[in-house]
Assembly symmetry: C2
Homo-oligomer: 211 residues x 2
């Protein structure tokens, strides 16, 4: 069964994809509909046929940027065995892969841009962080259930520390123009992840004492 | 000897103090000179007599917000004994004290707001982060010299991890409207700081084995 995509849908998708990096780099107030007209080559009438307001377009642009970002950061995560290895992979991907949409992390950008000024975008950023926290926390939980991660580890705490350190470090690294802060954060997170593992001894402790 | 402060200087200082929270909350593009006129009660002519452009005012406002923030976060730091205790105090102050200027951390806000859009503000934010890193790194270095912190600890890494985790967590906490992310980051940093200390044993290890 074929899926029919209208020309209008394609134009709408193209507008969102072209507007996303401008909103991600300049923020809501820093991006005008005139900027979007320029980058898409559309007239005012053409643009407003698809989006009733800058707010409506900015929300779609954020969702698009976030979806691209999640795809880039978690590509192939399903193929990785083990909870701790999965979390390590998330850290490495975050450090190594450039932003999926120009301008850095859309979650962080929108959180800072919208926290005091735009309740709708703020709510979308909050939801984005909450989902990421749930996803990372879920990996920790699965690791506890599998006996790989120590039972007393708090999944939420591991998730919060990972997200905070990576996002904070990305902001510093983008300013500094190098990956030093990101690599330092990754180093600390690697140690944290090593520390939550169940230590499997090769021989029982008693045997080691008596041998 | 008295210091003479002119009426013009006082007006200038008042404009900066009143504009600072607007720039900190809304960002450069989101704050207009009309907004500043409204909050200060000044006419256009009065405002431009003190600041030739929005850019000039935004730079002063950022410097003011950062100075307030540094003052709040490091108040009494000089009275604290010991490098690790000093670093712990920085973590606690960051978690416990509200933003000195409404809108969250001016460093983080300006870093995100200006990184792709405003080279002058970007440079000021970069300098602010670099100074903070140097200050925290200096505390670690002093701790190493005093034999309190292990010699192989990298001061820059400790500073980067502290700043990244605290700033990232603050952004999440501001969105969530609670301190959970900040407390989780502080928990991890406490463990990191505990881990960099030179462990002083009360008795030599040999004695413990033979007693």
């Amino acid at each position: 069964m074929g899926v029919t995509v209208s020309k209008g849908d394609l134009t709408r998708e193209r507008i969102v994809a072209q507007a996303a990096p401008i909103f991600n780099q300049r923020g809501f107030a820093g991006c005008s509909m005139a900027d979007v007209m320029e980058v898409t080559g559309l007239e005012k009438g053409g643009l407003y046929r698809h989006f009733s307001s800058k707010q409506a377009l900015a929300e779609e642009a954020f969702k698009y940027s976030l979806a691209q970002s999640v795809k880039t950061r978690t590509a192939d995560l399903g193929h990785i065995e083990g909870a701790v290895e999965k979390l390590r992979y998330v850290v490495r991907r975050f450090v190594e892969t450039p932003s999926a949409v120009a301008g850095g992390c859309p979650l962080m950008n929108t959180a800072i841009d919208a926290d005091d000024a735009n309740p709708e975008l703020r709510a979308l950023a909050k939801k984005g962080f909450a989902r990421w926290k749930t996803r990372l926390g879920g990996i920790v939980e699965a690791g506890i259930e599998a006996g790989e991660i120590r039972a007393e580890v708090e999944p939420r705490r591991v998730a919060n520390v990972m997200i905070a350190a990576l996002e904070g470090a990305l902001t510093i690294s983008r300013l500094d123009g190098d990956k030093e802060a990101l690599r330092d954060a990754a180093w600390m997170l690697e140690r944290m992840l090593e520390g939550i593992k169940v230590v499997k001894e090769k021989r029982p402790a008693r045997a080691a004492v008596t041998s």
